[in-house]
């Protein structure tokens, strides 16, 4: 065979190999795709399966355990069936997982909760397509007093310092929502403060930098002076720390255009720490140590003072607990 013939043969061979490879691979690829579709369809829990696992979770979580799904996107199915008794808003909008002693995880397809990675699995069982785990927190940091829960009269007040103002508690304030990119919903029960409605103070839920829910106190700083949230008769005997978080709806702070917001925590009038929220920080933790306490004074006053140099769209939302 001369050179021309060899080259012609080589040219034809490459194409034939390509075509044959495609012909051999095609049925296999098709079979894999069809099998994949079948697998997805077969592994999807139906309504009965969700109801069955919900019943199991209800009994496992009787002690107030945190209930999560893995993957997270499946959570609405469980919320639909379990409701607020087993999955209360305080759990859904949790500031952290340290505060819980126990958790129940409902898992699909081998998924595991990263959030509960430090927890110990003490029981695991299969319920239909689910794996249900009971987990214990090896180092729980339980909450002695939740300032979010305590934000109401007679023990809580809100006011401003410049000028000195007082915000009045309302149980029938008009509910206001900011829409996409706007402020969170201001609830019916809240402190009515001077100025636009977003100056009011109340408990709401924001979406953090991962768009996860965070239950917190909406406390947009005033244009001047401090906005001061004050709780009286807070049980402090034996307490060691104030632990909290601050953040904003991520859509507001992600452009990193807003002014810093200072958050100062005072106990009985004495500052125990100041933290600063910078745009882009996301849901940020803080921990301030409590000074030693006289046994004769088991309760005290906690104040949170919020201030900023420029109050333009400062959607601060914070939560704090005594631990």
């Amino acid at each position: 065979m001369d050179e021309a013939g060899r080259q012609a043969t080589a040219r034809g061979t490459a194409g034939r190999v390509l075509a044959l490879a495609a012909g051999l691979a095609l049925p296999g690829v098709a079979a894999l795709e069809l099998a994949g579709e079948a697998r997805v369809a077969a592994s999807t829990p139906d309504a009965e399966a969700w109801s069955a696992v919900a019943g199991e979770v209800r009994s496992l979580a009787r002690d107030g355990a945190l209930v999560v799904t893995s993957p997270r996107w499946a959570e609405p199915h469980l919320r639909q069936r379990l409701g607020h008794d087993v999955m209360p808003l305080a759990h859904l909008g949790r500031g952290d997982v340290d505060r819980f002693e126990h958790a129940v995880e409902v898992a699909l397809g081998g998924a595991r909760s990263e959030e509960l990675a430090a927890y110990d699995v003490v029981d695991e069982r299969r319920i239909g397509p689910f794996v249900v785990r009971r987990l214990d927190n090896p180092r729980p940091d339980p909450v002695r007093f939740d300032l979010v829960d305590g934000l109401r009269p007679p023990h809580a007040t809100v006011g401003g310092t410049d000028p000195a103002t007082r915000c009045f508690w309302s149980v029938r304030a008009p509910v206001v929502s900011g829409g996409l990119g706007g402020h969170p919903t201001l609830p019916r029960q809240r402190f009515d403060c001077p100025g636009p409605v977003w100056m009011d103070v109340g408990v709401t839920v924001i979406a953090d930098e991962r768009f996860r829910p965070r239950r917190c106190i909406w406390a947009h700083p005033f244009g001047r002076g401090d906005k001061v949230l004050r709780w009286e008769e807070v049980p402090l005997a034996g307490a060691r720390r104030v632990v909290g978080h601050h953040g904003m709806y991520w859509v507001v702070e992600r452009d990193r255009l807003g002014a810093d917001v200072e958050v100062e925590v005072r106990v009985d009038g004495v500052s125990i720490g100041t933290t600063v929220h910078h745009d882009g920080d996301g849901w940020s933790p803080f921990t301030f140590e409590l000074p030693p306490r006289d046994e004769a004074a088991p309760t005290g006053t906690i104040e949170i003072a919020i201030r900023t140099a420029d109050a333009e769209r400062r959607h601060l939302c914070l939560e704090a607990t005594v631990r």
């Binding site: 495609a22 690829v29 919320r79 919903t185």
Partner: protein, 565 residues
Amino acid sequence: MSPHGISGRSLDRIDAAIAGGGFVVTLAVLVRTAPAIGYARDEGFYFLAAEAYGRWLRALWADPAHAVRADVVDAHWVVNHEHPPLVKALFALSHELLGGLVAGGTAFRLPAMVLVAALVALLYLWGTRVAGRVAGVVAAASLLAMPRVFFHAHLACFDAPVTALFTATTFAWWRALETRGWRWPLACALLFGATLAAKHNAWFLPFLFAAHGAVVAAAAWAGREAPWPAVRRALAVLGLSLVVGPLVLWASWPWIWRDTAARVGEYVAFHLHHEFYNMELFGETYWRPPFPRTYAPVMTLATVPATTLLLAATGGAASLLAVARAVRARVAPLPGASPEARAWIRVSTSWIGGVLVSYGPWVRDSTPIFGGTKHWMTAMPFLALLAGVGCAMAVRAARRAAGAGGAGGGWRTAALGAALAACAIAPGVVTTARAHPWGLTAYTPLVGGAPGSATLGLNRTFWGYTTASAGPWLAEHAPADAAVYVHDTLGASWDQMQRDGVVPGHLRRVGSVAEADVALQHHEMHMQGQEYQAWIALGTTRPALVLGPDGVPVLLVYTRAARPR
């Protein structure tokens, strides 16, 4: 033309019948499946525009002199003037003619569905002409079996129509270079104009034609022929298109009849400086540049059936092999590339060029990604054509290996061809059928379908069209005078759904979740804040309804815990 021995064929009446049948079946399927897909956000804008243009068209019919006055033109064509007119005008005509016979929304949508059905027929004819009926059938079916294409094919939007027109223009370009005379060049120019008048993707066609014209000239050189006739022909067709195309755009767009330069500049500026919207990829929401360059390839792998991609890669590789062989043959002291090989190179490189020019903008990390896969949908027909050829090659190779002969009759030959064609198409058909009507949540088994994609953090939906899926539940459970927060569904889209009976007509649409008795929530990562707003406003975190494919929540419905006192 002969990609590795595959022979094309002259089209005959049987092919015309098959193409016609493909058109009819495609249209019937789209019309039949359309009502389950609610009206997308952008459709609402185009309904309003079509209604305005329809009023103008009626005025034009009744009193042309009055209708073409500047104030009259502006009053009607100002609506949605940031987008060109052709497709909206077709929506208007269809709605005028058929609005009383079918649901209003379907009447608006029909032109898009007709164009897609015509595209399916064109793919059959083009694929068959190049590489036989297996190629034609697989090309046509593969397009429709792409779940995202199937979804967009239903909508009164621009993406499916511009995909059809983009392909038709490329087909006309190819015919113009393969033939003599003026008919195909004129057709190419007119179709280019129509594509310009459909959507701005059309502006990439001249780049495709310029590059392809160079390839055609090079193919002539590879065949030891003078390239200049090919160059002159390409330049002539391109030049004619660049003159006629904009004229067609101008003639079809009353808004730019006057103040042309300023208004065209405004149109260009709108698209060059388009606002960025949000899009999720692997759990991150991107809202401004830099956008991940991996977005286009990842989403293609995740949404186009693997069999189609495998076969398209085969067809594309066959093209590149032919190009390499032709160049080597020309350079070496060998006879040049054969006429059949050159013909294959000419057509296949137009397809590859169509793919590359459609994806090209996403090489830059400043190109928006918020539209998802529809951004590069104009590539899909060319991928389907390459897949058709890839399948034809695979069938031939399999027949030879099985001893059934490279061509010819016999039931074994036919069965082998049918089996491989079925392998090519079946996975896409199954994925598409299972995903319907959640088209934008359709992901292939490669990423674990909808559940796998949700776990990976891929976008689940946008445009608020899934409201239609809650229609039956709303009809049964929503109180008679309920105020409904429709979230991402555009008001005009919701209103059309009410007119068409997709959602109950007695419900009141409200603009804030705080005013609502019922709140819809269309899942998008960056919109999660609005779900939490609903929790507080309605006093519940317990959804009354959770809907989505394969258990993945896409649409949630919340109802107020108790009416406020």
